[in-house]
Every structure is written in C-alpha cells, then in structure tokens.
Symmetry: C2
Subunit: 297 residues, 2 copies
C-alpha cells in the first residue's frame, strides 16, 4: 500500500508524539518536527507508510541519541500483557472454537498498542478484550485460515508490537508448532517487537523465532536480511500481524493472511472496511487455493 496525502499530517503528528514520549526537551521536539517536515516535503509517494516511519524513527533515535527509546515502554506492555495472559489462555482453552477465539484475542492485542500513545487504563483493556470476543467477525475467513494452516508446511508469523506479541502467543499456540516460525524486527523501531520481547512472551520456548534484520515498522523486503528473505520466499503461508505488515505486504505475491484492527481511514479504505473493524483476511494470491479447497470439500 502506498502513502496517501492523508498520511502526511499523521506522520508529522506521530513524530511529535514520539518525540514527546521519549524526551521532555522541547528543542528536540521542534527539531524532530522540522526535520520530518523537510523529509516529507520531498517524499517519494510510491513508498509504503512504514518506509517513512523507518526514516522518521531513525531520525528521532539520532536526535535523542538513544538506540531504543521505547525499551521501558515495551517492557511495561509486555508485563501488562503477561498479567492478563493466564485468564485469556483459559478462555481460549474453554472456547467452542479455540482458533477463532485466539484470532480475536490477537486482534485485541493489536488494539492495545494504542496505549503507547495515550495512557490506557486496565478497564479500557478489559473492555477492548470483551468487544473483540463478541464483535461481528467473518467466519468464512476463519474457515479459510483454518484450512490454509492445515495445508501449509512452512508458516511465517510476522509479529507486530511488544505487549501484543504476548497475545499473539495465544494464537501461535493454536498453530502446529513444528511448522511455525515467528519473525520479529532486527533492530528496535518504535514499540515493535524484537527478539527480547519474543523471549519475554515465552515464544522462543515453543516455536522457532528469527528476526528480519530490519528496523522498518513493517516488512519491507529490501531492508531485510538475506536469511529472512530466503525464509519468506520459502514459506507457503505468511501470517502478517498489524497495520505495518499490511501496509508493506498488501501487494506482495505470497499467500498471506492479514490479522489486524483497521485503525485509520486510509487503511480502512484500502481494505474496504470501516475504521475499527477487526480484520482476518487472505490476500489475492491466496484466493485460488482456498476456493479450490472449498470446492473439493
């Protein structure tokens, strides 16, 4: 998905929010905003939003001289998610359809990411989880996902953020462990999950976890390591979590299921859904196969 003009004011606001989150120095806030404006003025609009996000957050890290300014925040969100996890595991286990419940909770994890910008309350999180467990959801996509997982041999699960990755574990536990590799970012960028977060989330104990070698808040193949690209090429099912992975892989020629909450109007338009909708959706490369499975059944 390419950048739309509507993304630009949003980049500037996000850069300011990020700068404020990581330092109280107002001169740095101003410097970040001015540099982002300059960068945006000459933007290559054919890029995906995370390509700009990558540049912006490199800039912020350089200006505040800190390679991982979100580290403490990520740890806080991991702890919070782990605290909620025992009860949620139980919900998945006792659910009529554990896979569907786990997908819903993985999306709940994607929403809680909002807490990075605003201060999120525990009561909000409980409400989000409740909403995600009861909201309308496309059952046909769940069946498609179930079929795709059962037919796949090499599944790459592209994780999104810290905290959220604990919720992802609930879903990953419903997948065949021997076929699954979880992918995290190669270096810190915003609150995206790195190997440290996958470890805290308990993922490294149950499945293979690799990093993609990149510091983009999405999956921009050209910025990823050779190793990751070979694995991506080789996989027969990609599970791509969150907006950043959707923005960077929506046109990729691989069989992908996207799992996310559509948080902004630009993405919602691209997905043809309303803002706030819970999305589990296979991409176009997938259609033939899934339809075939249905016909055979």
């Amino acid at each position: 998905m390419r950048i739309f003009l509507d993304c630009i004011p949003c980049f500037v606001r996000q850069a300011l929010d990020s700068a404020r989150l990581v330092t109280d120095d107002e001169q740095i806030h101003e410097k970040v905003v001015r540099e982002v404006l300059r960068l945006a003025a000459d933007l290559d609009m054919s890029q995906s939003p995370p390509a700009i996000g990558r540049q912006i957050h490199r800039l912020i890290r350089k200006l505040i001289d800190n390679t991982d300014p979100y580290r403490e925040l990520k740890q806080r969100f991991n702890r919070l998610a782990l605290r909620l996890c025992a009860e949620l595991e139980e919900r998945v286990r006792t659910s009529e359809d554990p896979l569907e419940t786990a997908v819903r909770l993985a999306i709940a994890g994607n929403i809680i990411d909002l807490g990075v910008k605003t201060s999120i309350k525990e009561s909000d999180i409980e409400r989000i989880i409740r909403d995600c467990l009861t909201a309308d959801f496309d059952n046909q996509q769940v069946e498609g996902f179930r079929n795709a997982v059962s037919r796949a041999e090499k599944i790459l699960y592209l994780a999104d953020n810290a905290g959220e990755i604990v919720f992802d574990r609930l879903l990953i536990e419903q997948l065949p462990a021997e076929k699954v590799t979880v992918v995290v970012k190669g270096r810190p960028v915003i609150n995206d999950a790195t190997i440290e977060d996958a470890d805290v989330a308990g993922l490294t104990r149950i499945v293979e976890v690799i990093d993609n070698g990149s510091d983009a808040p999405g999956t921009i193949l050209e910025t990823c390591s050779q190793t990751f690209r070979a694995r991506f090429e080789d996989a027969d099912l990609i599970v791509a979590k969150g907006q950043g992975n959707y923005e960077t892989l929506s046109d990729a020629d691989k069989k992908i299921f996207f799992i996310l909450k559509a948080k902004c109007p630009v993405i919602a338009r691209d997905l043809g859904c309303t803002v706030g909708e819970m999305i589990l959706r296979k991409n176009k490369s997938f259609n033939g196969i899934v339809d075939l499975v249905k016909e055979v059944k």
Copy 2:
C-alpha cells in the same frame, strides 16, 4: 497567541482539506501539501497561527489560480444562515435576556463554521443552536459585557466567517447601532467574511461596516490598512469573534471581549477551558475597568 508544535500537523491537514475543497486536481493537492511542508519546516514559531494560515491560503489561491475559491461556499452558508434567521430573531426578541441569547447564538454561528470542512446537516445545526441556548455560560461575563457596551463610545465588532456573520447580526442588533462599526476582511481568505457577506447579512443597512485591508484569517495589525489601524487605536471596545481573532489579539493591549467556541486543544489550553466550551471573555486590559464598575454598583 503563538504557534505551538501541535498546530503544525493541523496546518498540513487543513491545507490538504482546503485544496480538496477547491479543486479535484490531485496534482495540485500534492503540490499544496509539499509547499506547505516546506513553509512549515522553516516556520517562525513566534508568529500567530493565522499568520501561517494567511501564507498557506495565499499559496493555495496561487496554485489553483483563483482569488476567491470559497466564494460559492460562503454564499451557500449565508443563504443557510439567513433561512434560519427569522426564527432566531424571534427567539432573541422573546428571550428573558436578549443580549445573552444573542451572544449564545453568535457562538452557535461560530460552530456552524465547522460545516466548511465536513458536510453539515440541517438537523446538526438545529442541535448546535439548541445546545448553545441551553449550555452552561458564564453570567458574570455577560454582565461585564453589558456594562462594557453601555460605557463604550466606539465599538469595533471584528467579524469572523461568512454564514456566521448572519448570526452576528442578531447580536449586533442588541448593541447601540450608532456606536458600532463592523469589520470584515479586506480580501477573501478561506471562508472569512468580506464586505459582500456583510451586505448579504443585512449589516450594511444597520451599522457602519469597514474592511481591515488584510487577507489574514484573523486580525494581524501589521497586515491591516492604515485606516483600520487608526480605527482600532481609536476604539474603546473591541468585540473579537472567532478563533482567528482570538489567536491574533489575545495579547493585544486594548479592551477586548472575545466571543468564540474553543474548537481545538491548543486554544482551549491557552484559554484555560475545555475543548468545546462557549467563550465570552474580556481580556486582561479590561479587568481594571470592569472591576471598578462592579465596585461602584
């Protein structure tokens, strides 16, 4: 009031909204956004927000080669306001306190300006008017305003937008006509009222109307005509309508009553109120006099 960093993403978004409102040409939308980003990157942050608004809208008018792109929209809002006016005049006339009711309706007019960006429905307008007539309001400020008006000899009423100016007429009709001069913008900028709108609103028939010679969406004295500046200097009461006039005159050394709805968090913080609050407020230069009046009473 100076620009805050939070204003900057908002400028970019407003510029895009404006460009889209006045042309469907996406190349121009992109050009406007890029130019505004460049302008903002080197911004003098000691200026008021309307100083930037003026530059942005000069740029838009130049890029689309149209000196008054909002003309049709302004006419539409004038017509809409005139259609509502007969009933509202009646409400003022039959009210227990016609001055207070007229102030409330003048603020309702300031809110309806929102319709410029989004498409506003008649049912929304009715709700806004109802809310403004019943919302909490600072009665002490109304009394201060009543006293200030009765003591003043030369009142300048600085108008804000087209459409809104019809609602202003309801308030201006409650002021002593011989003492009041209404001020509109010297040249078109966004949907700000010019002499044409004051005429359509029926103001030129009841009070003196002058223009300020400027194309800033507020009152930036340095950009105004000598004639206006002399009148401003000479006036003993300024009634300043809307956010743009607040942003440009909040620190002015004149006796000013501001009338507006606080529509954005930056202005609300500056005013020490919540977003959405209805504001009738005298400025600091005023306090001594009003307090004296109270003591004498």
